[in-house]
Symmetry: C3
Subunit: 308 residues, 3 copies
């Protein structure tokens, strides 16, 4: 595997050493920040462009802050006003942007494979950083989740983790699975209604369960996924209340997990659908730590990809 990261498309391509190095680097970014050094000049004079074909304020803002705090010039490519409504193709957009001498393009697209397609067709040395493509991958989310877990439990090999919700269609789940399996997590359980679960053959080394009470038993961290309303119909659960009853993370269910079990969620939260507000805002919630780590992980990725 690569020892130096230039593009970041999926965590499937990274080994444990590379992931560990990125997490270490994110940790150093966090420490520098805590000591008041909020702005570094590692990327002074470099240009990062946010190319978001799907709306996302959280992730775009997180990448924008990460790049700016490293001193980069950041340009947001505003798609509502973009030339793509003049019928320009993705390739023309890519090559046009490259011709303006960008150092990195952070891309989000509803279609799986768009960032990898851009890597294959890039004509310059531009770094392509995947900020989420279709159901495929959201690698910085996988890294920030791994970082958040590691801050509480430094040794992944001792950990049991559950991910609950629409695993089948979730790029977050896919990147979490890659990160946690690569880091050697002891047990990884994937849980949700049958129609939202992956084939077991797709997730080697993971347990696939429909019963959330069983899945959460004794775990050290539980990652709840957002239920997309449009997926509700695909489940056999007639409504959100039924979903909450079977798959919502309540205080009672959380009590089945290991003491101090980390409660995680990529956000934004559907309170009362996949998670009880008392748990989302409770003492075990790490949801806001995840957000904070998101900026540090993205700083680390950009620094690695664009670094000297």
């Amino acid at each position: 595997m690569s020892t130096h990261l230039h593009h970041l498309i999926s965590l499937a391509e990274l080994d444990a050493t590379t992931i560990g190095r990125l997490l270490d680097r994110a940790e150093r970014m966090r420490e520098a920040s805590l000591h008041g050094t909020r702005r570094l000049d590692l990327l002074a004079g470099r240009t990062v462009l946010n190319l978001f074909f799907e709306p996302s304020t959280r992730t775009r803002t997180s990448f924008e802050l990460a790049a700016r705090r490293l001193g980069a010039i950041v340009v947001n490519f505003d798609l509502a006003r973009s030339s793509t409504n003049k019928g320009e193709t993705l390739l023309d957009t890519l090559h046009t942007l490259e011709a303006m001498h960008l150092d990195a393009i952070v891309v989000r697209h509803r279609e799986t494979g768009t960032p990898a397609f851009m890597v294959r067709h890039a004509m310059s040395g531009v770094s392509i950083i995947n900020a989420g493509d279709g159901n495929h991958a959201h690698p910085t989310q996988g890294l920030l989740d791994a970082l958040t877990i590691r801050q509480h439990h430094p040794d992944f090999t001792k950990l049991r983790v559950a991910i609950c919700g629409d695993i089948r269609h979730s790029r977050v789940a896919r990147s979490d699975i890659h990160a946690l399996c690569t880091m050697g997590v002891r047990e990884l359980r994937l849980c949700g209604p049958a129609s939202l679960l992956p084939e077991t053959s797709e997730v080697p080394g993971c347990q696939v369960l429909e019963d959330f009470d069983a899945a959460i038993e004794g775990v050290d961290a539980v990652i709840m996924l957002r239920l997309q309303k449009e997926r509700m119909a695909a489940t056999l659960l007639p409504d959100e209340a039924s979903y909450f009853q079977q798959y919502g993370l309540t205080p009672e269910r959380l009590a089945r997990a290991a003491p101090g079990c980390l409660v995680m969620h990529p956000g934004p939260i559907n309170r009362g659908i996949e998670i009880d507000p008392a748990v989302a805002d409770g003492a075990q919630s790490r949801i806001l730590e995840q957000v904070g780590n998101g900026v540090f992980v993205r700083m680390a990725v950009l620094a690695e990809a664009l670094g000297r």
Copy 2:
């Protein structure tokens, strides 16, 4: 009252010393700017986020310029594309943004009380700066109006000022009233159609008048408010022409004021509705001075709130 300002929600909470200090600081920002020092590094490494739930190009741009000229990183939170359309609550948005280690959030919201609500629920040391909430307050507008007046008339205690228009629903009027009363203005007259005037009990120390000719008599400054078209129906005036006849600031009416009376307006102007173009663009107009002072006042507020 506070000696150091951390949040700015309303001028009602500020005493004359604090307001005076902010005006002095804005004045020093202006002088530095006139001497060619357009960029300072007071806020280098700090992050300011513009969180505008209501559209406003003028005010957002003014805050953005203020923060950038002090060296801050500024991120605009674009609501059209925001996760709030995924049903995220205001509190989740606030806490998510805080988790990204922001130093200040500049917020505008159509609902009264949103910035104060954010202060009560903030979990970090983030400064909340109100850029206008409902009918409640627009404190930087109050400060910039006070600064503009003070540049021409250093002693507030000698001044007569009139505010004319939809006082009842105007956050600008409310903040102007707080600023001018706190600074000890000699007379403050509020004028407009009966249905657009406040209860006299709400505005102690002010005169409330329906007759604009009487209200403007002898004043040193007149602040005209923008007539929101949707308020027209609430008045007994059948149309805009009638409104202009009774409450429009014409050269004839202006002649009733003190010589050199300052003509002010928060913008954008409805020419021919609340103000005659000859007055808006005339020699006594201070409208563009207000805009310029807006940037300096916002620099002062940000420097005070985020300063070392």
Copy 3:
């Protein structure tokens, strides 16, 4: 003509010395960039505002990168959310922005003459840079096209150039004509369907032809224009396939030009309408060089307009 450029409205007002100086300056910007100096501080502390009344991601991004790489503060005036929807006039917008002490306004507007109107009414020393107005002018496009040609053929007086497409309604064509005629190009041929050609009296010194095969014969550079779909109806050509047959740049047609003829297009490209993909992406295409030169030309123009 001016020896120092303060505004840039149209190339019609520039002499060959001024255009040559701007091209030289752009070339130095390019060289600095190639040597790794991507950020300069020529415009540190200066403020540039992008005022785009028409959507354009490419041109806005190019100007934004140019200004930021020179160290300027750049603010994008977002029209979807702007106060202009409160009925503010263009003049009020201009004067309000000026009051915030901007150094330059980069303006694009669908109406011819808007930038010149702003120059006439500006009250401060703000520079107005035209980023395209109606059918009138797009001067930085004219400059970047001249720069791209000059990089391959230093002596304009030996060159034959053809421009093909909707010449009549194209601000790009108009600015290209000014740039190339001023620089003394040997032959300039304008080609397109009769309804899309200018009057010969409007383009002194140019040849006006309907036959593309004749127009392209022996030229050293051919500039293809984008066909606006709404113009199709004005031609006698019943559909896009017919347009392509008569005016599309195919490998066969390109073979009629001089060896190594430069293929240029302002973008975005309509593949298969005005240009064959094999030509657009072929070895003679200079389209991406044009994009890269766009940033350097805009750096040169901003540095000249705002320079010490």
